[in-house]
């Protein structure tokens, strides 16, 4: 299983590419939707990315700020979900 840091880097790469940003322009704590880096289609494409890259299905009940507001939160959400998959 990937480490939380590896997942964070993967999410960072995805978001910088999607939002046409340089790596140094994105802070891991930036509120990506609040700041308009990703819009509603961006969220849908991100959900697709999580599915393809980590084989995880995001439930609509999981679409909350705690899981999706920043790179750090998304990485932590993905990491925990992967851990739960392994433990179940």
């Amino acid at each position: 299983m990937k480490t939380e840091i590896e997942i964070l880097q993967g999410i960072r790469r995805y978001i910088t590419t999607s939002a046409s940003m340089n790596n140094n322009e994105l802070d891991d704590n930036m509120l990506i939707f609040n700041l308009g880096l990703l819009d509603s289609m961006g969220l849908l494409f991100l959900i697709d990315f999580i599915k393809e890259e980590y084989n995880l299905e995001v439930m609509d009940s999981e679409l909350v700020e705690e899981n999706f507001e920043s790179v750090k939160n998304i990485a932590s959400f993905v990491y925990k979900k992967l851990q739960n998959e392994i433990n179940s």
């Binding site: 509120l31 939707f33 609040n34 308009g36 990703l38 819009d39 509603s40 289609m41 961006g42 969220l43 849908l44 494409f45 959900i47 697709d48 599915k51 439930m59 609509d60 679409l63 909350v64 700020e65 999706f68 507001e69």
Partner: protein, 327 residues
């Protein structure tokens, strides 16, 4: 110059002088159709809904009933009520109408097949011959996360199945259903061109500002007489213009999917009375605390509604853009 803003209130959007507003819109229609566009009349697509009814009544006042054509364009998914109400409206205002069923054109585009194929990928049990389907927006207003859409299938025995739509299927469903508005636009321009008329759009302020229209579909028109009016103001005008009560009382629907779908569940996410006031508050820089107090909401809720409006306006800029020309 400093202008003093009125305190926010529930009546802030109420039109006190309907006659003046009406005369102003009528004057604008005359100016734009006759003097700017150099057309001799107007074509209005009428659906039996409040917006197209008010637009029709205003256009008739401006151009005269002999110079206005109402086009009724149902398709296989339209409610029979729509055609009935549209005809009733046209009869009341004594205008000529043409009924154009756009189903064969949509079948030619494989509109239904493309849409149903995407729905079936998400809900394999979906049977397009017997079940009804719609898409609905899903968002928790307490969360600052953009909305996602779900597809809802209602089987013939009333069972409801709902699943979140992945990007690919969501885009295919929207792209396929947009054939409807674009086919209707083509039909309106056919009649407008053969009569040397202008196409009169029926979009209201929320639809224009938040991008609840199809680019080159219902957004493909020559003028938009009610494009600056809030929905509650359109209801006020409807009463003033003597629109039939059944139309005024009807819940605004999209009339686009086989299952009945209100505009609120598909897009706007809150009742019009609330949407109008929050939108006004946002556009006019009222503090969320002031708006929350008057509307009996939490400040955070109003803040998220403001963000939601801002996000929709921003993400739908593309719809309002003209083709990009290079120097």
């Amino acid at each position: 110059m400093n202008t003093i803003k009125s305190p926010f209130s529930r009546n802030i959007l109420k039109i006190n002088d309907l006659e003046s507003l009406c005369n102003m819109i009528v004057g604008n229609i005359q100016d734009s159709v006759l003097r700017i566009l150099h057309r001799r009349g107007g074509v209005v697509g009428i659906s039996g809904g409040i917006d197209s009814s008010v637009t029709l009544a205003l256009t008739i006042r401006a151009l005269g009933n002999k110079n206005v054509l109402g086009v009724i364009m149902p398709d296989a998914d339209s409610s029979p009520e729509s055609e009935l109400f549209a005809q009733k409206l046209a009869d009341k205002f004594n205008i000529k109408t043409i009924l154009e069923n756009v189903t064969p054109a949509l079948e030619g585009f494989n509109c239904y097949q493309r849409r149903d194929e995407a729905i079936s990928r998400v809900i394999p049990e979906f049977n397009p011959n017997t079940d009804k389907a719609k898409i609905v927006i899903q968002q928790n207003m307490n969360e600052d996360i953009p909305p996602v859409f779900s597809v809802v299938v209602i089987t013939s025995d009333g069972k409801e199945m709902s699943r979140m739509l992945p990007a690919k299927e969501y885009l295919q469903i929207v792209a396929a259903t947009n054939f409807k508005q674009r086919s209707r636009m083509s039909m309106l321009y056919y009649h407008a061109e053969r009569l040397h008329y202008a196409v009169i759009g029926t979009a209201n302020k929320h639809e224009v500002d938040q991008g609840f229209f199809v680019k080159y579909g219902d957004g493909g028109v020559d003028i938009m007489p009610i494009g600056k009016l809030y929905k509650t103001q359109i209801y006020q005008l409807a009463e003033y213009l003597d629109i039939p009560q059944e139309i005024i009382n009807r819940t605004p629907t999209t009339d686009t999917y086989s299952a009945k779908q209100t505009q609120v569940e598909f897009f706007f996410q809150m009742p019009y009375e609330l949407l109008d006031l929050v939108d006004y508050g946002w556009e006019n820089d009222y503090e969320p605390t002031e708006v929350a107090l008057i509307l009996g909401k939490k400040e955070r809720e109003i803040r998220n509604m403001y963000k939601n409006l801002e996000r929709k306006a921003k993400t739908t800029d593309y719809l309002r853009m003209h083709p990009v020309f290079f120097e």
